[in-house]
């Protein structure tokens, strides 16, 4: 379990993380979502004791990260993939990590196998593709067989097969009872993997709820209706107190689900050509929620 309490980090006059509080529970995948510059990486660095909080605290399994005698056996972390020396082989990278926390050397081959890098284990990592680097980073995160796994933007640079592999891995780790904390700036990615969401923007928590709840709350929906008796249908639905907007030959109805709209129209004997529930995408919901907290926005927005 990871617990942050009023965690704050300021750099000079800029506040990167502003009084953030959350808990990341074991047994599920928690997505940590926010636009670039929202404070995700800074928060993760404080979880790992790399950056010192300006105020507040964060603990992993009840203790500050630095107070664990063998932290890699407590928390496994994928940092940015470039935290590797390009001249060192994958196996050697894992060897020194194992040595640093008293982890048996046999575990090196286990995690190489787990991430599918056994065949290239003795190549210098400078020759690795971005995806292979990510896999090695995940191997490093798992080397201590830790109960808590922290993955910072794990799908960056991965091909579709690799993305699916990370999703499955995250879900499997959570199913085993581990705490899995995955950051991303892509709503669609997190929605597919995470059971729970923590959304931050400008260093503050904007939402902390189950993914399904987030979707229900923030993804707006309407029913698209097409009918040869366009005006009659519109009048009927407005008469029922529904919010109906006409867009050319289509009506957008808010306030009832598709089945209820269909029944209303059917009972009055009018004809329908189309009846569709339209959900705005999660990406849209995320954009709406974080619109005010995006640090750098394109001029057209």
């Amino acid at each position: 379990m990871i617990a942050a309490h009023r965690l704050t980090k300021t750099y000079g006059t800029r506040t990167a993380v502003d009084g953030v509080g959350f808990t990341v529970e074991p047994g599920r995948v928690t997505g940590f979502l926010g636009p670039n510059g929202a404070g995700k990486s800074t928060t993760m660095r404080m979880v790992l004791g790399l950056d010192r909080p300006t105020s507040g605290s964060v603990t992993v399994n009840g203790r500050r990260y630095a107070d664990h005698p063998a932290p890699l056996r407590e928390v496994g972390a994928l940092l940015e993939a470039s935290a590797l020396h390009p001249g060192r082989s994958a196996r050697d990278h894992l060897r020194w990590l194992a040595a640093s926390n008293g982890i048996p050397r046999t575990r090196v081959d286990e995690v190489l196998d787990l991430v599918g890098l056994t065949a290239v284990a003795d190549q210098r990592v400078g020759r690795f593709s971005l995806g292979m680097g990510q896999r090695l980073g995940i191997a490093a995160a798992l080397i201590g067989d830790p109960p808590v796994v922290v993955l910072d933007e794990p799908v960056n640079g991965l091909d579709p097969e690799g993305i699916r592999w990370v999703r499955t891995l995250a879900r499997d780790l959570a199913a085993e009872g581990r705490t899995v904390f995955v950051s991303s700036h892509l709503m669609s990615e997190v929605a597919l993997t995470a059971d729970h969401l923590i959304v931050i923007g400008r260093g503050r928590v904007l939402a902390d709820c189950a993914t399904a709840e987030f979707v229900a709350q923030h993804a707006a929906s309407h029913v698209r209706v097409r009918s040869p008796q366009h005006d009659a249908v519109a009048t009927l639905l407005r008469g029922e107190g529904l919010d109906v907007a006409a867009h050319g030959r289509e009506l957008r109805v808010v306030g009832l689900d598709a089945a209820a709209v269909g029944e209303l129209v059917g009972r009055s004997g009018l004809l329908l050509h189309e009846l569709t529930l339209v959900r705005s995408s999660l990406e849209d919901a995320f954009m709406t929620l974080t619109a005010d907290s995006v640090e750098y926005a394109g001029a057209t927005r």
């Binding site: 074991p26 660095r45 790992l48 004791g49 790399l50 950056d51 010192r52 990260y65 630095a66 664990h68 005698p69 063998a70 932290p71 890699l72 056996r73 407590e74 972390a77 940092l79 940015e80 470039s82 935290a83 590797l84 020396h85 390009p86 001249g87 060192r88 082989s89 050697d92 060897r95 020194w96 990590l97 040595a99 640093s100 926390n101 008293g102 575990r107 286990e110 196998d113 787990l114 490093a140 798992l142 201590g144 067989d145 830790p146 109960p147 808590v148 499955t168 891995l169 499997d172 780790l173 199913a175 085993e176 009872g177 581990r178």
Partner: protein, 272 residues
């Protein structure tokens, strides 16, 4: 997949046993020897140190024997160390700055949050290796160079005044210089900057201060780290102004310790 994940440690009740006291040292040892820059630097040290000493002795033995040179023979048997010291600076700087250059430092400090332990382990691995390499380099250079001097009848025995001291002293000086470069590397966190600072101090500033007038110039020359530290690495110096070997080395150690102390304070306080 889950069956290969491991030993289900997350269900454990007790905290895992702390890794042994040598864990950080072993990790740094593995890191040190698994990058190419280490064998390259040490190989270059040997080639420059032993090779140049042998070469210069071979070329000047005859003139030295005739008494044409006006320099002490003792100044020649570890002559190559002046050039070999560059490799100790490079290796010392890289041990620290390569981690900052690649972002590795975050992996290192995530694995071992006790920063003083990381620093101590790095220093131990670096200095022990450089001591051995520097000593072997000086010994090989002495054996090679002295073979030519012996032929002219002016060879020095290992037991002669300062010869053994200069061989072991070469190892000590390399170790100290590497540590000095590592400390500077920790402060500037950038390979090129660290090399420029240390090589500039040792090779450029150390020689430029000799032109300062009077006692100022004399003492600045004596106290510059490269000048103070290197006199231990030669039986007799070309420069009679320098401090006595052990006195000079003590000054150099104090200077290195001071830079290292500042670097350690900065390192333990700043964000990774």
């Amino acid at each position: 997949m889950s069956s290969t994940m491991g030993t289900h440690a997350w269900t454990r009740i007790e905290t895992p046993a702390p890794p042994g006291a040598t864990a950080t040292l072993r990790a740094e040892w593995v890191k040190f020897w698994t990058v190419r820059s280490t064998p390259w630097s040490l190989g270059a040290m040997f080639v420059l140190g032993a090779g140049l000493t042998t070469l210069v002795c071979a070329l000047s033995a005859e003139a030295l024997a005739r008494g044409d040179v006006g320099e002490p023979v003792g100044a020649f048997v570890t002559w190559g160390i002046v050039f070999a010291q560059v490799t100790a600076v490079v290796l010392g700087a890289l041990v620290v700055t390569s981690e900052y250059g690649t972002g590795m430092i975050r992996a290192t400090l995530a694995a071992t949050p006790q920063r003083s332990a990381v620093l101590a382990a790095k220093a131990a691995v670096l200095t022990s290796t450089l001591f051995v390499a520097g000593t072997l380099t000086a010994l090989a250079g002495y054996l090679g160079g002295n073979w030519f001097l012996d032929r002219e009848g002016i060879g020095l025995a290992l037991t002669d005044d300062g010869v053994l001291r200069s061989i072991l002293g070469s190892g000590l000086y390399m170790a100290g210089l590497g540590l000095f470069a590592a400390a500077v590397g920790l402060l500037v966190r950038h390979t090129a900057a660290a090399l420029a600072v240390v090589l500039g101090l040792v090779f450029v500033v150390g020689n430029l201060v000799m032109v300062l007038p009077g006692a100022w110039g004399e003492w600045a020359t004596k106290l510059m780290p490269g000048n103070a530290g290197s006199s231990i690495a030669t039986p007799e110096s070309f420069n009679p102004l320098l401090l006595d070997p052990w006195v000079g080395f003590a000054v150099f150690v104090a200077e290195t310790a001071a830079v290292l102390a500042v670097a350690a304070v900065v390192f333990t306080r700043r964000d990774a």
